[in-house]
């Protein structure tokens, strides 16, 4: 998604090296995605669902 849009940037963070982040975002064993510090979900989701979360975080869609 970061590739597709100049407005989107994406970080992949390995939390065992940054334990304060695992604590801050409550990451336990399952990959967790946090968008604009507001929207979050765990595990893999279909592209449409991921986009929906991005649009919610951007204020385009209602939760």
């Amino acid at each position: 998604m970061a590739l597709e849009s100049d407005r989107v940037r994406a970080d992949v963070v390995e939390v065992s090296e940054f334990p304060h982040l695992a604590q801050r975002y409550h990451v336990f064993g399952v990959p967790k995605v946090v968008i604009n510090e507001r929207v979050q979900f765990e595990g893999a989701v279909p592209e449409k669902v991921f986009l929906s979360y991005v649009l919610q975080a951007a204020g385009v869609e209602e939760a």
């Binding site: 590739l3 994406a10 992949v12 390995e14 939390v15 995605v33 946090v34 991005v54």
Partner: protein, 150 residues
């Protein structure tokens, strides 16, 4: 190859032979001068740097490699918006804002390889509807994917 196995290297060599567009890995680490700054220790910096350099080598130089020091190269740190180390930015014809924080090992390594290929080809692999929706975004979006070691 220091971190990548010979078998993996053979597979990667084949895949990276397809790279046509520009791609580079811009890595941020901490110099091994022995100077320890409290709170700035970097557990996997050396391994991450070796991995990045291995990728440059296995691609016969098609993947560019730049290594900067988080404390010394402040201009580059600001330019790429790096907040912690080790950090790797996957940069193509331009900077799309793709960052890996922490050593990209295990499942993340596969993800990094795919990103390198996609960035070089300037191809996101997303559906046209998704791409259109993303280009119409009214605000900036910061996606953070937190992963745990496999």
């Amino acid at each position: 190859m220091r971190l990548i196995s010979e078998r993996d290297a053979a597979t990667l060599r084949r895949r990276f032979a397809e790279l046509t567009g520009p791609v580079k890995l811009v890595m941020f680490t901490q110099s091994e001068s022995g100077l320890s700054v409290p709170g700035q220790e970097c557990a996997y910096c050396r391994e991450t740097r070796m991995l990045v350099e291995d990728l440059g080598e296995v691609s016969d130089g098609r993947i560019g490699v730049e290594v900067y020091d988080f404390l010394v190269d402040k201009d580059q740190v600001a330019r790429y918006g790096i907040t912690r180390i080790p950090a790797v930015a996957v940069v193509g014809e331009r900077d799309y804002g793709i960052r890996y924080y922490g050593i990209p090992a295990g499942y993340e390594f596969a993800s990094l390889v795919e990103d390198i290929l996609d960035v070089s080809a300037q191809r996101s692999g997303l559906r046209p509807e998704t791409a259109a929706a993303l280009r119409g975004l009214p605000t900036d979006v910061h996606i953070q994917v937190f992963v745990t070691p496999t």
